[in-house]
């Protein structure tokens, strides 16, 4: 059986079990609404465009935040890979920063940027930057020395060697870094939105919760999960696979 078919059957069974449980009142509707209520809540949300606005607002923040974090992350990663002093000092700080969830910066970010876009985007940037930094650093440091030797015998040195050989050689790590940065940024975004003003998926989630609209809560959770899975599998994993194959790293 194909994996896709197996997956389809699995999810159908899951929803069936959920629907039957709700139908026979194994749990109360206010605790876990039935799939039909969730479906209705999602349809209503998309019909009056609130969920569309939420998606647009969330993606806007994500794209800005992710773009900035990839830029800063790459620049910082290059710096750490090239300068021993930077690696010994800033590098250790980056490791520490990477080990904490970026949402803990939100209180500070609200003081600095107010309770709006700025604070959330700041948290998203922090979410993606350090994982990108560490991957870029590792990628550059792990370039096969043979490529560098070969390039030097072909007259390539300095900046030419760096941009034409070292950076392209570390692209597999850059792609992995970008994929992880996206995943961290997406989590940071949802956490940030839950705690601040709307519109946005996270904001609607909390709003629905405050008004006891559990069907919409679950609906939004499903959207967040689906978006996360789709972007990861359809975009990043596909690029990663192609790159690994071309770079001859696929086992």
């Amino acid at each position: 059986m194909k994996p896709a078919v197996k997956r389809l059957i699995f999810f159908a069974a899951l929803i069936l079990f959920w629907g039957l449980g709700s139908h026979f009142e194994l749990w109360h509707e206010t605790i876990l609404p039935s799939p039909f209520s969730v479906w209705d809540a999602l349809v209503a949300g998309f019909a009056d465009l609130t969920l569309v606005y939420d998606l647009v607002a969330s993606f806007r923040r994500l794209l800005i935040g992710l773009a900035v974090s990839l830029l800063i992350g790459t620049a910082l990663g290059i710096l750490l890979a090239r300068s021993k002093t930077a690696d010994d000092t800033i590098g250790s700080m980056v490791l520490a920063l990477q080990s904490v969830p970026s949402i803990i910066w939100l209180p500070l970010a609200m003081m600095w940027f107010g309770l709006g876009e700025g604070a959330i985007i700041f948290v998203v940037i922090l979410g993606g930057t350090f994982v990108m930094t560490l991957n870029v650093r590792t990628g550059i440091k792990n370039v096969n020395p043979l490529y560098i030797k070969a390039a030097r015998t072909m007259g390539s040195t300095g900046i030419d060697l760096f941009w034409k050989v070292i950076i392209p050689a570390s692209i597999p790590y850059l792609v992995t870094g970008a994929r992880l940065a996206w995943a961290f940024a997406w989590r940071a975004l949802m956490a940030g939105e839950l705690l601040s003003a709307g519109p946005g998926l996270g904001y609607t989630l909390r709003y629905a919760s405050d008004f006891g609209n559990m069907a919409l809560v679950i609906g939004v959770m499903i959207i967040i999960g689906v978006v996360g899975a789709v972007v990861d599998q359809l975009i990043f994993q596909r690029i990663e696979k192609n790159v690994l194959k071309r770079w001859g790293l696929e086992s």
């Binding site: 043979l146 490529y147 030797k149 070969a150 390039a151 030097r152 015998t153 072909m154 007259g155 390539s156 034409k164 050989v165 392209p168 050689a169 692209i171 194959k245 071309r246 770079w247 001859g248």
Partner: protein, 262 residues
């Protein structure tokens, strides 16, 4: 002389601060157009010596002159072919061959030149392929084409066929011999295979180990193609085997002594 290797010593200190002599007082003169093999057991420093001619490794003392210029750093006058093809996986075959040319000629000329050398190694049909789509032998041919395209004064080859299967290696020997005859390049070829060195070279420099020294310098005057002179080849093979036997015993004894100590 075209290549002059004068009083080369290479000593490196390991983490316990013990000095290891890798190469001791190596002196060689190689005339233009010669195909020289440097033959020796592993650990004799033959690859280190080649790397010094390429300018990738520095000597502890002594000097190397290629075509009147002191070797200080790597340069396009010395093309290097490594044991692994060292092609850049993000570039097509043509782009790889163009890589060393891109600064000194325009794109059209560079591609034209790449095509010429890919034809020489019989890979014209694979110009647009990526390295991962090629077999090990084909990749190594691209790597040879890439070095030749720079028009180096000397081609340095570090066990270039060591990682290939027997049939492929034998075919590439034939191709390399033909390329050498056609281009008249000076080739310094590092190998640990006695047969390979006899099949290909004008001259075999036999190196001993610990420390690396030249123990014999043999002119090979067997007419080419050498497959047709099996008796002479076998006689020379035996002679070199005799020279190296002592060296190989030395390595084994040293290792046994080391194990006994530890």
């Amino acid at each position: 002389m075209f290549i002059e290797i004068q009083h080369i010593n290479k000593i490196y200190t390991d983490k316990d601060n013990n000095a290891n002599t890798v190469l001791e007082d190596i002196n060689l003169e190689i005339p233009k157009g010669q195909f020289v093999s440097i033959l020796g057991p592993s650990g004799c420093g033959k690859s280190t010596l080649l790397s010094m001619i390429a300018g990738l490794t520095s000597a502890s003392s002594g000097g190397i002159v290629v075509d009147g210029k002191n070797v200080q750093k790597p340069g396009k006058d010395r093309g290097m072919v490594f044991q692994e093809a060292a092609l850049f996986p993000w570039m097509t075959v043509t782009e790889n061959v163009v890589f060393p040319l891109r600064k000194e000629m325009n794109k059209k000329q560079a591609i034209e030149r790449a095509r010429h050398f890919l034809q020489m190694v019989q890979l014209s049909n694979y110009a647009g392929h990526y390295p991962h789509e090629l077999s090990g032998g084909m990749q190594q041919r691209v790597s040879i084409a890439r070095s030749l395209a720079m028009d180096p004064a000397v081609l340095l080859m570090d066990e270039p066929f060591g990682a290939l299967d027997e049939q492929t290696r034998s075919r590439l020997h034939g191709q390399l011999e033909k390329i050498w005859i056609d281009t008249q390049k000076t080739i310094v070829f590092v190998t640990h295979s006695i047969q390979e060195s006899i099949k290909l070279s004008d001259r075999i420099v036999v190196m001993g180990t610990r420390p690396g020294t030249v123990i014999a310098d043999i002119e090979v005057d067997i007419p080419r193609p050498r497959d047709e002179h099996k008796q002479q080849v076998a006689a020379l093979e035996e002679r070199i085997m005799g020279l190296l036997k002592g060296e190989i015993d030395k390595v084994i004894n040293e290792e046994l002594a080391y194990e006994a100590r530890s």
